[in-house]
């Protein structure tokens, strides 16, 4: 009689231990099954024993569901993962799926994977063949850039990292010069270093650039240029001068309405046809312009969202102090509007970085493109999985870092109480 009574504070001493042990037993069963291939409940008939962990866990969760038990950890547990029967079931499923999926993932990534060797034949295990990544690593980073000249890419990025790193520690006054260098000097210095052709450096044509370094180069330049263009477009779209307003709207809607892949294709294949004979613009530059303008249109709409969120009073206060259009926007409106839309800006820039693999349509191979190339090498067929998992991981690290940076920036710039 007592045993089927509703769980409550009176019978907490009997129900909670029983409930907890039932839940533990069910998780233990799944765990043993997943990791050691043991079936602890094999003595039950087969149909029953398949569902047994679920049933045991469910009963266990029912028994410990005591409202206002007075035990803090139990209350938190019940409130978060065990508030009713349905949630208890969801909790069990989630736990089981996580436990079940760990061993195969562990096997593929590490336990059964091959790390040593230098050809596909060295991969004898059932897991991933990381040898593929190891052997091709150089190509994945530098594309077809000549081995002997790769120090130039390394130097360029080293300078970048050192300057950025140092700029975090210098005084506000010096910081201005660092930012000026990073925005107006370094990009062109770096490109000169990598492309060569002067100062005794051998010329390396842009078709040979590739891999992760190309991902960085394209992303950095596109971000650098699309941001100011986007801001100008956003302001233009809200301009009271009809010509500027409608040109901005037309530009934004045109570029937002076309798929990036089409834009890239046009820039590489169609665009040269319209140029007068004899003029030549490097393919990489054409692609860069295409991506920049494409993302600028998105950036413009994000920034416009921020501009619209500002109260009219801010504009009026700035005007009433005698500020003209540009001073008002530069000093009052944009600092606030951009701060408001940092999440949206981060979103657009992350999308930009992740859009770079699309440049494969014009024959440029950044990281994902190089992997796509390597996996079709006859000696390395069947390595798509390893390659794309690696690419995914690298992109995730880049994007997560950017995301964290944007969150920090948001916190740093917040002046609300």
């Amino acid at each position: 009689m007592n045993l089927i009574a509703k769980p409550s504070k009176e019978n907490i001493r009997t129900y909670v231990p029983i409930g907890l042990s039932l839940v533990s037993l069910s998780i233990l069963d799944v765990f043993a099954n997943a990791f050691f291939n043991l079936n602890l409940m094999a003595f039950f008939p087969s149909q029953l024993n398949y569902f047994l962990p679920l049933i045991l866990g469910f009963i266990g969760f029912y028994l410990i569901r005591i409202e206002f038990s007075g035990v803090r950890s139990l209350d938190i547990l019940n409130k978060n993962i065990n508030s009713n029967n349905f949630n208890a079931l969801l909790t069990l499923f989630t736990i089981f799926i996580i436990i079940k999926s760990i061993p195969p993932m562990l096997d593929w990534f590490i336990l059964e994977a091959n790390f040593v060797g230098n050809s596909k034949d060295d991969c004898t295990g059932d897991g991933a063949c990381w040898v593929f990544i190891k052997v091709w690593f150089n190509r994945f980073m530098y594309g077809l850039y000549p081995d002997a000249e790769q120090w130039r890419i390394n130097t360029a990025f080293l300078i970048l990292f050192v300057v950025v790193g140092v700029s975090f520690f210098v005084t506000e006054k010096l910081k201005k010069y660092f930012i000026f260098f990073l925005v107006f000097v370094f990009p062109f210095l770096g490109i000169k270093l990598i492309s060569g052709g002067s100062f005794g450096l051998e010329y390396v044509e842009s078709a040979a650039w590739g891999g992760l370094s190309l991902t960085f180069i394209i992303s950095a330049f596109a971000i650098l240029f699309c941001f100011p263009i986007g801001v100008i477009l956003a302001l233009g779209r809200r301009s009271s001068l009809p010509a500027i307003k409608y040109i901005s709207i037309g530009f934004i809607e045109l570029w937002r309405g076309v798929p990036l892949i089409t834009v890239l294709f046009m820039s590489a294949v169609m665009f040269p046809m319209f140029l007068p004979d004899g003029t030549f613009i490097d393919k990489l530059i054409r692609v860069l312009i295409a991506i920049t303008l494409f993302e600028a249109a998105y950036m413009a709409e994000v920034v416009r969202g921020g501009l619209q969120a500002l109260p009219k009073g801010q504009y009026e206060a700035a005007k009433s102090l005698g500020m003209g259009y540009w001073r008002m926007n530069a000093l009052i409106i944009l600092p606030q509007a951009l701060k408001l839309v940092i999440p949206g800006i981060a979103n657009t820039l992350l999308a930009l970085v992740k859009d770079t693999p699309l440049i494969f349509v014009v024959g440029l191979m950044e990281l994902a493109g190089m992997i796509g190339l390597a996996k079709t090498n006859p000696k390395w067929l069947g390595m798509a999985m390893e390659g794309y998992v690696f690419a995914g991981l690298v992109f995730w690290v880049i994007c997560y870092a950017m995301s964290r940076y944007s969150q920090n920036l948001e916190k740093k710039l917040s002046t609300e109480r």
């Binding site: 102090l321 005698g322 710039l413 609300e416």
Partner: protein, 244 residues
Amino acid sequence: MMSKIIELKNVNKWFDKFQVLKDIDLEVAPQEKIVICGPSGSGKSTLIRCINRLEEHQEGNIIVDGTELSESTKNIEKIRAEVGMVFQQFNLFPHLSILDNCALAPIWVKKLPKKQAEEIAMNNLKRVQIDDQALKFPGQLSGGQQQRAAIARALCMEPKIMLFDEPTSALDPEMIKEVLDVMVDLAKGGMTMIVVTHEMGFAKEVADYMIFMDEGKIVERAKTKEFFENPKSERTKLFLSQIL
């Protein structure tokens, strides 16, 4: 003839088809203090917003300090720099400290060196008695302090005229006094002021003239004492009986 610093002649203004200002005539001499009152929607805010051209009028002439405001006015920014404005909602810049709020326009509009601009800012903050809050951000101040900071910000441009658009309407009753005290002080210092307000105590204390507006028209313009003791129009009497 006494020189006028602000002159409005036959000013008409429409929002689409709705006429908000009807044949407004107004003259303000230097150092005069004028209080405008009237029911909401009577056009009093629109009127003073026309004076620094935050609103554009469609007919008539507005002449501020010898310059006529019109579509082609190139130096509208110069006039705005001479006409300080205080808003109902303070409109401080939330991303800047109080000191920067005050020093920003002197630095960028008047092109003063930073040090001098900050000195002016501190002096004006001292004048409104919040110099101890100079390094805080607007969000950290009370409503009364914010409005006083906004007055200081306008004063930093050393304007010839100050416009107040219901400066105490968004404040808690307790904070109204501290803002009014600052405004009384300012009036005694000889500033030309046009104030839209419902604070009749303040009006009685500082105003040279009272203006009563209704439905876009100036219904009554009279010396302060006469206005309160012996209003001429029925509409004014009705309004005063409700507000006093």
